[in-house]
Symmetry: C2
Subunit: 357 residues, 2 copies
């Protein structure tokens, strides 16, 4: 087992990474301060892991909520089901909520924990690669509103994160690849050494080798934690996490949400950011090819969908929330393995990238 | 105008108290950091004060949400209307929410501000005496769940509180009295001098004299702020704010919520706490009479409803949330003007109080 501590003073917490962790009592007992634990999961994950987690929690008074699986249930209506279960089971303000599932379950459970009786403890057991590398650090929780994603939420830090690499064995290939997009992102943001490691170990990762996965998760979480911590001193650092996301969001919105997985859109978006950076003269054609090759090797798309025109791309990017004060901000690559947030860029470089001239 | 600063380090904020404040731009402009301000109010308050507030906010881009009036609308469904209005009006994460109304509006608006885009600014313009003395300090926000009051919420501090004593001119007598119950509570908790001042100035307060009201609000807020601040060092201090509330909640629940106003139930509850304290030998018969006389002079009930039996009282008190680890805790009076939280008390004293032997 690898353990990484996210340093937040009094609210510091460990991320434990390794195979078989979710079924071990030791993964939870030292971090849960309450008698009562409410496990929140979904219909896909419950048959696979709910009983294992409940067994590991044998010393606690447990109950569970099983939500339907999918982003479209990430709203206030389904959040209410968590509150209903807590109150029906007479859970008091010293209880703990445990999120067992992917990002949707983590975000909803975290927000329920932030809000129940004005804040109770929260443990994360992410079962997808994406949620293990992305939701474990940062404390963002919330639900969607019909008019916007993640519009209602809170910052709420977990007491611990249990990232069981064994749970990735049951993850569909397409979702594993989508998670790898975010892993590759950390290499491209500011970790050339990790990028090289990923080039050498992509096959092991796709074969779900426990050691390789644990290293990729640990290094991604370390990188994210460093960026989030730096943002408190250096405004805007956190924006680097959006590498590939402004292009990616345009793809997601343009194709209709759910058509492309978020990680797939980010993958193509990172290739577009690389291409634009090359047109700015910052990285070489060889760098772009290396990035595309790695993303392709991870089973991810390297080009945006044919059906999305350049005009539509520019339109969709202009309404993205990263536009501040009417100005578009983009994360581009200053060199291979070093990204930077820019609000000054050559319009030509952007246009020739989205029009694929 | 009187100004009181609630000292919370970086999150410190002023409470401004005086007549005519809600229609003055100066009450808001120094404290609002955004261009966009969403005013949240209800159908009773809107016709009286909404236009005045909007005029005072002339330099801002404003919009409003008018909710129905009443505690029964304090739930997630009606909270959604605030999020709908924010998103329909394209309010961004730098916006401010302004609560114009009583405690229900303040609690809902505060929680909406805590949750919208994971937290935006919030200004309180309480228009009832109860909300001016009770909701201005402490940062508690939230909504009810069918199975419990204030079960879903957050701690979220306002940027400023504008307590306009002029708005109390339109407050129904019964609600003014209900607010006075909480004012008297602060005298009984630990401020004998204020208790004496209230005895001498009750007529002015009932006549809605602006100076008298401003003093009562300021002193109540000061007392609450000191108790809330002390609680960070001395666990349990904050529980003193529940003086009269364990008895009072039993009255509210026993009669059906809404039958007795919260302040009325607390008033009778404080008389019961006084009576029980006398039976414990802590305060004199004369002290009890003095308390009953003051509460009566404020237009408030001094006895619980006849229809509520002693047995039912004990039952209802046992399920109150102040019961911790199966043990009932009560706030009693050690002496006139000095209350204390006790979990050890003579069962006889409690029973003879609720059975009115």
């Amino acid at each position: 087992m690898r353990t990484l501590t996210v340093d937040l003073g009094e609210r510091s917490y460990p991320i434990m990474i390794g195979p078989g962790l979710l079924q071990q009592a030791d993964s939870y007992t030292p971090w849960i301060r309450s008698k009562q634990v409410m496990v929140v999961t979904n219909e896909t994950v419950a048959p696979l892991y709910l009983n294992k987690v409940l067994s590991a929690l044998g010393d606690f008074q447990t109950a569970e909520v099983v939500l339907p699986d999918g982003e479209r249930y990430k709203n206030l209506d389904f959040l209410t089901q968590i509150f209903d279960a807590l109150l029906q089971n007479r859970f008091d303000r010293s209880c703990t909520l445990l999120a067992l599932g992917g990002g949707v379950i983590g975000d909803m459970t975290g927000f329920a924990a932030a809000s129940y009786q004005r804040g109770v403890d929260f443990v994360q057991v992410p079962t997808t690669l994406l949620s293990q590398v992305d939701s474990s650090v940062g404390g963002k929780t919330g639900v969607n509103h019909p008019l916007g994603k993640n519009m209602i939420g809170a910052f709420h830090q977990p007491r611990c994160v249990v990232a069981d690499t064994g749970s990735l064995k049951t993850l569909p290939d397409r979702e594993l690849s989508a998670g790898l997009a975010e892993v590759i992102k950390y290499g491209l943001i500011n970790d050339l050494e990790f990028l090289q490691w990923l080039e050498q170990n992509m096959t092991s990762l796709l074969n779900r080798d426990a050691d390789a996965l644990a290293h990729a998760i640990e290094r991604s979480c370390q990188n994210k934690a460093a960026i989030v911590a730096a943002d408190e001193r250096e405004a805007g650092q956190r924006a680097l996490l959006n590498l590939g996301h402004t292009f990616g969001h345009a793809i997601e919105a343009g194709m209709g949400y759910g058509e492309w997985l978020h990680g797939e859109a980010v993958a193509a978006g990172m290739c577009m950011a690389a291409e634009m950076s090359r047109r700015m003269g910052w990285i070489s054609r060889e760098d772009v090819e290396r990035i595309r090759h790695l993303i392709d090797a991870a089973g991810l798309p390297v080009d945006p969908p044919e059906s999305l025109s350049g005009e539509r791309f520019l339109e969709l990017m202009a309404v993205d929330k990263k536009v501040q004060g009417g100005k578009m901000r983009l994360v581009l690559m200053q060199s291979l393995g070093q990204s930077v947030l820019v609000d000054q860029f050559e319009r030509d470089a952007l246009e020739s990238t989205v029009f694929r001239d």
